[in-house]
Subunit: 352 residues, 2 copies
Amino acid sequence: MNIGEIAKRAGVSRSTVSYALSGKRPVSEDTRQKIQRVIDELGYQPNASARALANGRTNTIGLVFPPAGNHYTGMQLDFIGSVTEAAASYDYDVLLSPSGADSDRSFQRLLGERRVDGAILMEIRLADDRLDHLTAVGFPSVAIGRTAHPEGSWWVGLDHTALAAACVHHLADLGHRRIAFVNRPEQLLRAGYESAHRGLDGFTKAAAERGLTVRTYCCGDDPASGHACLERILHDDPATTALVTLNEAALGGLYRGLAQAGRHVPRDFSVTGVVASRWAETVTPQLTAADVPAEQMGRLAVDLLVERLDHPDTPARHHLLTPPISLRASTAPAGTTPTAPAADPGPASTHP
Amino acid sequence: MNIGEIAKRAGVSRSTVSYALSGKRPVSEDTRQKIQRVIDELGYQPNASARALANGRTNTIGLVFPPAGNHYTGMQLDFIGSVTEAAASYDYDVLLSPSGADSDRSFQRLLGERRVDGAILMEIRLADDRLDHLTAVGFPSVAIGRTAHPEGSWWVGLDHTALAAACVHHLADLGHRRIAFVNRPEQLLRAGYESAHRGLDGFTKAAAERGLTVRTYCCGDDPASGHACLERILHDDPATTALVTLNEAALGGLYRGLAQAGRHVPRDFSVTGVVASRWAETVTPQLTAADVPAEQMGRLAVDLLVERLDHPDTPARHHLLTPPISLRASTAPAGTTPTAPAADPGPASTHP
DNA sequence: CACTTCACGCGAACCGGTTCGACGATCGGC
DNA sequence: GCCGATCGTCGAACCGGTTCGCGTGAAGTG
């Protein structure tokens, strides 16, 4: 059932059907109704490929995935969901592109084969060749995250420096003097992931400002690594009384490690960090954290991209978000029994 | 840079370039190299829309989302990731379709506008009009989940009945006599979600078989609901000593409720269920559960779909999986102190 | 009544690929 | 030396839309 078929049955030409549908030229009320009736009857819908070929727009945006293997974190899920929904509200579809191991192939396909009108990139690195390439060829894109030199490009990001610093100040205000920082995996830090870098930066500077004793750690994106990381922390400095984490996937393991070491949260040990609220609320006690507004970020990214697609000459825009720390139940004043392990080892037992 | 440009620079016709690329007709080694050189030089990639229009295949598969609003569970994330990767390995792209509130519009677009060659559907209902429609029009699709009458259609699913029953038997073998069942939200149960129905079924039958006293609950897909649900459970029957859950998003809340009620897991209360391993390992103590092999399921779904696309006349195939229960740390024999609350209320305090 | 004006609708060209039928050149066989 | 098969290439048609220029009939104007 193509447009020619509709035209034939309605007794008009193909172009008239096209104009009746697009409204780009006036069509008399009579013929419009005649055409509409045939369309309704046959349930006709124009072929997307043909339309894309003719007018050069696919009405699809690409969502470029991190090269993080098959390990997706919760935040990414939230991005995907919110981007998809926001795109749908603009009548755009979303094409997923795992810029994974063979990043080039899949990524190049999106652009070279013109499958998408624009792209949204996740998991940005400070020096991001994907973005460099896109801006070099002038391809419309919006980054979720910002590079070292974001001037003149489109993005929506979190002020990781400020957020990590806020966590430090929160702990320092509570009297903690020896704190640890649990970052994303070392491999990602080395790759230049912006959240890992800026977060570490903010943590380190704020800690220096407040004269705290700190140690920083990288930690795999899974509970087992979190558990192991926590054991290292307490081994390296048993007097540590608090930690800041950017690693939501490790959170469960960090808590488990604390329980096993007999440190009660928040009585003996405070935990905070930068984590999406749905994960902060999953652990017990709930995590006091700067909540990553993933859904809002996804929607903003789509808004920006659509604006850029509709008005190609608009100067670059961006949104830098700094959500406040949500006080929940995982932090408390330090100092009642700063270094001694808790007296009651009961709750920590985990025998099978 | 289109195929005509390549042809001109290589001094051949457009059709020759096409044949050189597709290999569907022999091309002399000389001209092939000449063409290849030009292509490499210009970085030419054929336009996807034009190709799709010409040969009727988009090389894209649609991944149809649940109508669950903007609330995505962890399992869905795993599906999305594994489907995307598996599809990439077959050179297919993945188009996301939120068959959400206005399910029709987005869903119909995929099919009617021929944006995709085939579709993978998630969150299947026992009576699923989307699937009925697809099979009615003969559109190639594979379901992740199975309807009430899956004969003759393509799917990969979990034997929820058997899994829930296995959980019951596991608890019964440990001596538990009064257990609760925590299902997905009531709204989904009423909508006919197959996991909710078959799981409930398997639970009920197995419990009857073993002569257990049971109560069943529906619970929202979030920690707060889980917490509330657990309070209801203990209020309705304080002698309950174990629960089975299908609701991974509520898991954190269930644990929190138990801690707050002074029930130590697994000493005073056993918890098990059907949950993806990454979530089972996030809670403390780690959940003894039938691990949902989400990644494997995603890959299998793609395998089936690609087979169906390549061989349109193959009879329907499917995979029914029954993963074993992974013994972790959340279940223990009942009976040492079956009904009395734990003596030590310490670990349950959650003051801010 | 002749002339412009306008509203509508038509045909043809185009987007960038694929595919089919045909044609010229080369080759081997008798 | 002529004929038929084979190989490599070309031109044209087609996929299903969109868009431009033009023609036609009716309405408006002096």
